[in-house]
Amino acid sequence: MTSAVRKERNAFYARTWGGKNRHYDIFKEGAIALSITAILVVALSALFSSPDDPSLTFKGWAQSAPDNFYATTVQQLAGTSGTATYGPPYNEGDGISVGPLTLQKWGGVTHPVDSVNDLVITPLSSQVEPSNVTDALKAWNAATSDQQTAWATAYDDAVQATADDNGDLHLDAVAKGDYGPVPDLATGLLAMANSGAYDNAMTGQGQFFQTDQTKQLLMMGDGSYMDDIATEKNLQGNTWGMMNEAGSWPGQIWLAFWSVWYQLPMFNNADGGTLTDNADAIIFFILMALILLFILVPWIPGVRDLPRWIPLHRLVWKDYYKKYGRFTS
């Protein structure tokens, strides 16, 4: 199409329509559409209900996978857990970077989380404990930072060394060593979780009002308990988990354009991808660029011409064309 013809056509498209009209009642159409939608929603709700899998608890974790809870507690003390090594906004560290850009650091540490104290020592100190745990707390608090790290790191290494080929830990096979109060602290927290007291301590965090679940969610995610359940429910990112729903309900299908990127081998841990460490950041920027293009479609040559090149519009207006004709070259 020449620019002159394009200009002429656009002027026509922009003008107030001067051709045949038909009666139209926007409020009548709206009332009918609202009725249809409301009936559909009520029918679907009555027939299929909606998903509501109960939230996971630390008590459930401690009872279903006690070894994993115990080992995660040791990792918190040793500073090797996902939370302890996360970086901003929870603690110091580099976090994710893309090339020379240390993006994760740009926002700073705005939600500080001290994995040792917030997730282990403070909850343990918040209630009456057996004497061995009380003594362990005293020993831990009296020790220097270096001593604490030496005990916890040695014990963490010893615990992880018991893992078999499947990754399952065998705590009864932990090598003897100088681990200080760490085993008693981990045993104490496991007992606390088993009784449900750890859930209460983490929910309130010593305050009357508390609506921030960051700390308990980080603790929950550091173990394999929640991750295993998500895998079982097909909710992992590399299995379209971003748009899946637990159970057989429809999920966030509208996130397909985002989820698809996590299926690519380069971003996928299971396929040995090379960009898995910073996949979230790279995919985020790819998506932001695509969203910008999506918004700007009318001004992008080629993209805006696709409807002319693939004339699906003829299906929409076939009756109009039949009655009033259209251009044919």
């Binding site: 107030t16 001067g18 709700s45 899998d53 994710i96 960051t214 969610l217 995610g221 909710l235 259209r326």
Partner: protein, 256 residues
């Protein structure tokens, strides 16, 4: 502060109205841009007769049900639907209305794409629709994070990594229930409704775009008056000289 003025009398036509206040200026601008017959028309162009046109209205009706069910859920509180069968049913209404809202919106969006509905200075209409989709996506996402169940735990835990990876997590903490409730119930719905309102007003202002290769009915009038077919006889696709086949008179008023 006010001054005494004569009683206001309605001007004969809006173009004759000379505003002396901000309010008057806005009234003149509003009525010039969107006169009542454009805002609430009783007619539409004859080409607006396909099921695809219904999906814009269906999207708005689903949004109405989403907001209504969301208001009831807000009264009950975020944990109401775990404890009450009524609450669970209202949650189901909210869940399925959201599903339909996105279904209708995606069909509407693809329909408008293949109809190249941005033609004739309607680019902003498309852009507001696209922004509306994104705002709705953010609203739905925050909704999942406040369900106070396993979904909320898992989605918030996973999503925080995306937010933190680009430093957004420092301000928007998806694991903070209080913050997410505020965003889902107040800020993001306001954004969606504002953008939808802008989108609808733009549609009303510009009218529904004519078919891609429609004949210009006004040019057809002059063409029939002047047998040389000087106007509008090129192909919309190629710009080549074109013949018009099977064309009835496309001009005129309401066809019933």
């Amino acid at each position: 502060m006010s001054t005494d003025t004569a009683a206001e009398s309605a001007p004969a036509a809006i173009e004759d109205f000379q505003p002396t206040t901000w309010t008057g200026s806005i009234r003149k601008k509003w009525l010039t841009t969107l006169p009542p017959e454009k805002m609430l028309p009783e007619n539409q162009p004859a080409y607006v007769s396909s099921w695809i046109y219904v999906f814009g209205m269906l999207t708005i009706t689903a949004l109405i049900v989403v907001i209504a069910s969301g208001c009831i859920l807000t009264i009950g509180g975020v944990q109401w639907f775990h404890e009450s069968s009524t609450g669970h049913f209202v949650n189901s209404l909210h869940f399925w209305s959201v599903q339909l809202f996105f279904l209708f919106m995606i069909v509407h969006l693809w329909g408008k794409f293949w109809m190249a509905a941005w033609r004739g200075k309607r680019g902003l209409t498309w852009a507001t629709g696209a922004i509306c989709f994104m705002a709705a996506l953010a609203t739905a996402f925050t909704g999942y994070t406040i369900t106070t169940n396993f979904n909320a735990q898992w989605i918030a835990f996973e999503a925080k990594d995306v937010m933190n990876s680009v430093a957004l997590g420092s301000w928007i903490n998806v694991t903070n229930l209080g913050q997410m409730v505020g965003m889902h119930v107040v800020l993001l719905p306001l954004a969606v409704v504002a953008v939808v309102a802008m989108h609808v007003l733009l549609v009303r202002k510009h009218g529904v775009v004519p078919p891609i290769d429609a004949l210009d009915p006004e040019a057809a009038v002059s063409a029939s008056a002047a047998p040389s077919h000087s106007a509008d006889t090129r192909s919309a696709d190629t710009g080549e000289a074109a013949t018009v086949s099977g064309a009835a008179d496309a001009t005129g008023e309401v066809s019933s």
